[in-house]
Amino acid sequence: MFFNVTLYIVLTIFGVGLIYKVSTWFRYNIGIVARDISTGERFAAAIKGVFSTFFSSRILTLLRVFLVDVLLQMRTLKEDGLRWIMHMLIYWGFMLLLLMHALDKFITSVLFPDYQPTINPFLTLRDLFGAMVIAGIGIAIYRRFIMKVPRLKTNSMDCYAIGIVAVIIISGICLQATKIVSYSSYQSMVEEYTTMPEEDELKALEAYWVQEMGMVSPTTKGPFNKELLEAGKEAFEMSCAECHAREQSAFLSYGLSRIIKPLALGLDSAKIPILLWYIHFLACFIGLAYLPFSKMFHIIVSPLSILANAVMDDETSDQANIATKQIMDLDACTHCGTCTTRCSVAIAFEEFQNINILPSEKLIAIKSLARGKELSPDELKLLQEGAYICTNCYRCTVACPVGINLQSIWFSVREGLLEKGYPELSVLSQLSFYRGLMQRKIVADEYREPLQEAREAISEKCELMKAKEKPINVTTASKKLRSELSLSSQASTFSVCFACETCTTVCPVVASYENPQEALGMLPHQIMNACALGVRDLAFGSNMLWDCVTCYQCQEQCPQGVAVTDVLYELKNLAIKSVKLTLATK
């Protein structure tokens, strides 16, 4: 009764959760993809997409991918052999336990009419599958907590996932072990399954269970004589053997039962097997009810993402379906950290200390964003910077074991964030090259705006650039700038500039404008002077800095050996750093 009521409640929560989560795939939106497409249209597009795929030759692709990437998980193997072993052990161990053991009424009994959980091969297999999961969990714990992979982050959801699986399996094995040694379990079995009137026979059977099956009896203790055991064996074969294999077959729980043997009677009288039964089932129920909201949801969604990824691409697929897949992909993520390990710029996290640079963490922030959580301006700025510090090398996308098109998510979210209007200074770097290549996918105004905003944010902090008549005060601040320009030894060379203007003369950017000063502000030689004088505003505030094409002509040709380009690089660093600070505290 208790069991059934709980089961139905759990199934209801699971079902409602599943429907709710799947509905979000069609309702939520991230970034700029298909913003104007309604939920209904997206749902219709998905149905259409699924049907047209099933009734086309692409079904063969799906079958192949299902075998190779879902069942055999070759994408994981390609990345990391140890992790593949880990996941295969957990995945297959757990799946087989689910099918053979948890759903035995519906599957195993139907396939094998003689099925009993206590006969072989089922008794052995159950422990074998359990052992596989435990070995997998062991590797997972080793990887997450002992190996210390740089920048691999472990969050509470990862711990929950490892924990719930571990509790289910370990409680199951403990339950079985305590049942092996339990005298009351033995007694109820005898009551239920034997029809032995003879006291002698019962005694012999009990002796046999104590001797051969590991049971611990309060009254019957060895050593037993041969005849008694022979009689016991006979009784066992008569009444029990048909549906109960020897306990040794359950090698894990039997092994454990040998360890707890000295405590057996105490455990039994404290009704520990019943307690373990509750723990085992409640853990399963919690796992199931919470599944749609936890990392374990990936069991259902990751295969879908892998399959969808195999037949979709950004260029040819319906934009409505791309928007839907982007949200589905967020649920498919297992936070395995492959993307972060393979990320080309993850190392920059060590310097920027912005966790959103790491793809696996960026995705978590994007999940909150998709869910409609109100992020504070500072959180949004950090996410925006994290989304921008990306070389768009596609390595995360190629490597993702569950086929998430991360690149497509980054692009969409990045543009969506830039539209919010917080100045992003990183747009003034060569990271923007990709954005330039992709500009046909961005509305022209939205494309230009972030570039203007970033320049304005910087020039706003450089008042002297605006008030050209204002006398310049060369005082204390001046020394600070000069001393800051020392990151690389080259940068301090500005001090030997004698203003011959060679740098400006050879600059291809200067040569591109009829009136360079109007377009660029300070020209290279003037910026070197501004550095020597230590006038921060003049050094930082010129378009020249951001329009420098870094061709090194100036530096190559400077007769004084001033590392002009290197100085410009460092000025850019300083300007961005100081303006970023003022933007963050605004």
Partner: protein
């Protein structure tokens, strides 16, 4: 002769034909290549933002190659410039070296200098040698005019990058002339392609490129030849974008050097990725002298006879 191949970010994502053609050419020349999966960004695109992030990213690559005791071979000129710069910094600047190595230590890495960073072109020119390459060339172009584009970050700052004479370089010309093509003289040869400003100031970026294209065309070039993914993307994808917007009528397609050389070595066109360029370059085949065409005609005639 063995190198760790440094691909950088653009090539595997957007200029795959550069990788496949370079691998094919290097294999043909007997240069052994070792791939290091853990390589990351060379640091170049971070340099405007944060000096230390730039050095750190680059130094990690150097440390990874040093661990394998292999010199680096880059295909990208911007990667080349960055790695050379950071190699120099890590050798010369002790406090910076200590600071960077302290961070790299977390990944069991360390770099104290001592590696050689080379570009694809310098490996061909200095390590393989013109003579050895010439032996592998099986057919030569005839009447093909090529405008070589050197790429800023390979040439300058010359004290750091040590690529070639920064004022009068000749290495690339010699490599191009191996193929039978004529390397033309053009004023804008050493100028920038404009790629570093794409996405930052498109107008200026395209103006710089257009200036080069115009000069190349006027100097009689049939094709540009480059050996850098940024330059290639600029002259290929961005030029195409520009043509589509009709900002210019001057079309001067760009071919990657390993594609050009690979053709004369008779390497198969799939690995040279001729069809992967945005602006078609198949027309270059017509610069191979006639005999081959005659042979084909003969073959066709034979087929027809049958």
């Amino acid at each position: 002769m063995k190198f760790a191949l440094f691909l950088g970010c653009n090539i595997p994502a957007r200029v795959k034909q550069y990788e496949s053609s370079a691998r094919a050419v290097l294999e043909n020349l007997g240069v052994e290549i070792f791939d290091i999966r853990e390589f990351n960004c060379c640091g170049y695109p971070l340099r405007n933002l944060d000096f230390k992030a730039f050095v750190l990213a680059s130094a990690k690559n150097l440390a990874l190659a040093a661990r394998e005791n292999l010199n680096l071979l880059t295909l990208c000129k911007c990667c080349y410039g960055s790695l050379k710069k950071v190699d120099h910094l890590m050798r010369e600047n002790q406090s910076l070296r200590d600071e960077i190595n302290a961070i790299l230590k977390k990944e069991d890495l360390k770099y104290d200098g001592g590696l050689q960073v080379k570009h694809f072109l310098t490996v061909l020119f200095h390590d393989v040698g013109i003579g050895s390459i010439a032996k592998r060339v099986t057919k030569r172009f005839d009447g093909l005019n090529i405008a070589t584009h050197y790429g800023c970050h390979a040439l300058r700052p010359s004290k750091i990058v040590e690529f070639d004479d920064p004022v009068k370089p000749s290495l690339f010309e010699k490599l191009v002339e191996l193929t039978g093509a004529k390397s033309i003289d053009w004023k804008a040869k050493l100028d920038c392609c404009g790629a570093p400003l794409l996405g930052v100031n498109d107008e200026l970026s395209m103006r710089l490129m257009q200036k080069k294209l115009k000069d190349g065309k006027e100097s009689g070039a049939d094709y540009l030849c480059v050996a850098c993914p940024y330059c290639q993307l600029q002259f290929d994808s961005v030029q195409r974008m520009m043509l589509e917007k009709q900002h210019t009528n001057t079309q001067l397609p760009s071919i990657l050097y390993p594609q050009l050389l690979g053709l004369t070595m008779g390497l198969d066109s799939t690995s040279l990725g001729l069809d992967e360029n945005q602006l078609p370059i198949n027309g270059i085949m017509k610069y191979f002298p006639e005999p081959e065409a005659e042979e084909k005609e003969e073959e066709n005639e034979e087929k027809e006879d049958k």
